[in-house]
Amino acid sequence: MIDALTRWLESTWFSNWFLDNGQWTWPLAESLHFIGLTMLIGSIGLIDLRILGLGKGIRIVDVHALVKFTVAGFVLNLVTGSMFLTGQPDQYFLNRAFHFKLVFLALAGLNVLAFYGTTFRRLKQLGPHDEAPLAARLMAGLSLVCWIGVICAGRLLTFYRP
């Protein structure tokens, strides 16, 4: 199945176009991918760190307004990441580091669902100096660990090319 998917992706016009123009498409997409990474880590970092207790005096719901940059960075990286994947699918599907990146992404995603499904409603009512509940702090910590894991696995891709 992975084989068929790889062959299909490689046969698409986009894959061929992306690779044929690799001299500029690849560096451009990578630059955008790193800009997206920074938008994501900067915004989710401040939100998670505030939940963990740093920056008292800021209401969690107020710093949470930055989450639009987390979403924007994530979408930018989903798009550019899909470009790499379509360009050279075999370099990713068989890559150990890519598997770890997907695991960290899935964990981060489940964590987001759990966060908004449970504790976020209570966080919204907290005042600027209130301590977040333990569950929220655990999720904020897990979020930071997951995103740092995503970055590391992403950086290691080059060294685990099949």
Binding site: P27, T38, M39, G42, I58, I151
Partner: protein, 165 residues
Amino acid sequence: MIDSLFIVLESSLVSRWVRGEFDAATMVFPVVISLHAIGMGFLAGIACMINLRILGIAPAVPLARLAAFLPVAWLALFINLVSGLLLLIGYPTKALTNPVFYIKLLCIGVALWCLFWIRRNLLLNTSAVVTAYARRLAVIATILWTTAIVTGRLLAYTYSQLTSI
């Protein structure tokens, strides 16, 4: 003259260690660039979020309270100074013969100066008013961090010579 300096550096133990030339240390380079990417995310990320707040994003966040996140940015800066220095010792020819590297350093230098200015005049100043000058600085700093990220990424594509040995 410069070439022989590159050769001396690249022959050193630290340089060879970074390049992964020892069997027990093949993961040094991947670990160092991973740390460099994490530090980039936190330093440029936090700095740019402060800039965006100055420009009116998330207006309910008290500007002065953002100072509490600066120690994380300084830790990220420290990680990137150390990891960056190790990468430079590992591949001095690659970096120092590439004009893009100097553009990157200049961007980081000026962006850091902007961050220090913002810290002193807006974050640590309780009676701070966001002036047009401060807003201009926030825009410039965001552009500089973005350029530093892009030029950093382009170092992998624009170098003319990897090593001198």
